[in-house]
């Protein structure tokens, strides 16, 4: 088992896995996003307090939760990369970072567009909102650090350290509603035990969460494949697969012959 997992440290194997998973993720993501959003927008009952504005929940909550989830996934990948020296772990890390950043951004602006009708303001400096904004900056920091390095091997390690240091922000975001009293809603869905929300509203939300999660997976896989090829550009397996012509060895051998002949 362990050996089998370890074999995905090889880019070639990881690429194969990505190829296998990609279409599954694409199908599940499209289907559940369509179902969840149509259900949420048209068929879920409207909230007695918030009216129809509450329908924003079907994108706000999935994106908010998964923005944090993606960060944790990224940090775990970084840990794996640093400890076991998996090259592919760093590739996963940098593949998911922009996706997570986009999710964070979505949660920020949907929250903002929800806050205007509900709280009467676009933005307020409360703990949850601020810490979510910081999450965006943590993502951007990891990405900037990665791009700043020339050597991507080095870049992966450096950005990995940064990603792990930033993890402290995750519990702060989650518990911010309890530590500081704020305008923002407390935990309803992520509460342990029974969710305190009507089931007709709950189901489409769950489906949306699944949709967002698989969507993140899908895009991450595509990006990871890009990353793998980009990093292994000069390895034979890439050339064999995409290059078409590989006379590189021939050229080298040719040159060596000439030197030998002299």
């Amino acid at each position: 088992m362990w050996k089998w997992i370890n074999s995905f440290a090889k880019p070639e194997k990881a690429y194969w896995l990505c190829d296998v998973l990609q279409n599954w993720f694409a199908v599940v993501a499209t289907a559940s996003l369509v179902i969840g959003i149509v259900w949420g927008l048209g068929f879920a009952p409207s909230d007695y307090q918030q009216g129809d504005s509450f329908r924003i929940i079907y994108i706000h909550v999935p994106s908010a939760i998964l923005a944090m989830g993606a960060y944790v996934a990224m940090a775990i990948a970084a840990l794996v990369g640093v400890v076991w020296q998996w090259r592919t772990a760093f590739m996963f890390m940098i593949a998911i970072a922009p996706v997570g950043a986009v999710m964070t951004f979505i949660s920020l602006f949907t929250g903002s567009f929800w806050g205007k009708p509900m709280w009467g303001t676009w933005w307020i400096w409360d703990a949850r909102l601020t810490s979510q904004l910081i999450l965006l900056f943590l993502y951007l920091g990891v990405i900037s650090l990665y791009t700043a390095f020339e050597d991507k091997q080095q870049a992966g390690k450096a950005a990995g350290v940064m990603a792990m240091v930033g993890v402290i922000n995750i519990p702060i975001i989650h518990f911010s509603v309890e530590w500081w009293n704020t305008l923002h809603q407390g935990a309803t869905i992520t509460k342990i035990g029974k969710p305190s929300i009507a089931l007709e509203m709950y189901w489409p939300l769950l489906i949306c969460i699944v949709g967002f999660a698989t969507f993140i997976g899908w895009v991450t896989i595509v990006r990871m494949k890009n990353e793998i090829i980009m990093r292994d550009l000069h390895r034979p397996w890439v050339a064999k697969r995409f290059g078409g012509l590989v006379d590189l060895e021939a050229a080298v051998a040719n040159e060596k012959d000439m030197k030998g002949g002299q």
Binding site: M230, D232, L233, H234
Partner: protein, 209 residues
């Protein structure tokens, strides 16, 4: 036992493979002369050998210790001299060398250091901040370490002759020969011809893309 043992070294920079399958085994009293064109990867190889950068695959043992796992023990008898000189620009030559001696457990009095500096033609410049010396003079301060460290068993020198004038090149070559004869091991690169009266094993790195 071999002083330096490198197995199956592969080096990758960005997405390019500089070299692969380098195997080196050096025992006491051997001189390895690494040659190759600009960009062939000489500096990269040397930095891997002393543990400053990690190879893509492969292992390096110095005096029996794995340099990438157990750096403090492996680097005990190692002296590396790279493109960067490892001396602080703001300190004087003397202070720099005193500090270096304390770091590396080398016992050397101030007179000893001054003596070495004099030997290298830096009399009178001992207490001037290094940044005010010329390129070649700075290089000499850094080279003084070779004169000070008595109990090293392996020298790794990356283009030690750059920026030196002819006299000093000759002196340095003599120093290297002496060290080899006393049982030391040397790995070095240079673009100049080496005129040392000692058997040289050559490692040529081919430029590959």
């Amino acid at each position: 036992m071999s002083v330096l043992l490198a197995q199956q070294l592969v080096c990758e920079k960005s997405d390019r493979q500089l070299f692969s399958d380098i195997n080196i085994e050096l025992s006491s009293g051997q001189l390895l002369y690494v040659t190759g064109e600009n960009g062939a990867g000489k500096t990269s190889l040397l930095r891997i050998l002393v543990g400053l950068s990690a190879p893509a695959t492969g292992k390096v043992h110095i005096n029996g210790f794995d340099i990438h796992k157990d750096m403090p023990s492996a680097s005990q008898g190692l002296l590396y001299f790279g493109h960067k000189q490892g001396i602080s620009q703001l300190l004087s030559a003397l202070e720099n060398l005193q500090f270096w001696c304390q770091q590396h457990d080398v016992k050397a009095t101030e007179e000893a250091i001054n003596g070495v500096l004099a030997e290298l033609g830096l009399t009178g410049l001992e207490d001037i901040a290094v940044k005010n010396l010329s390129a070649g003079q700075q290089r000499r301060v850094a080279l003084a370490k070779l004169w000070l460290q008595q109990d090293a068993s392996l020298w790794v020198l990356d283009e030690p002759f750059t920026a030196l004038d002819v006299h000093l090149i000759a002196e340095l070559e003599a120093k290297i020969t002496l060290f080899l004869k006393s049982g030391g091991t040397v790995v070095m690169t240079s673009h100049q011809k080496l005129s040392i009266d000692y058997p040289i094993s050559n490692l040529h790195l081919d430029y590959s893309w």
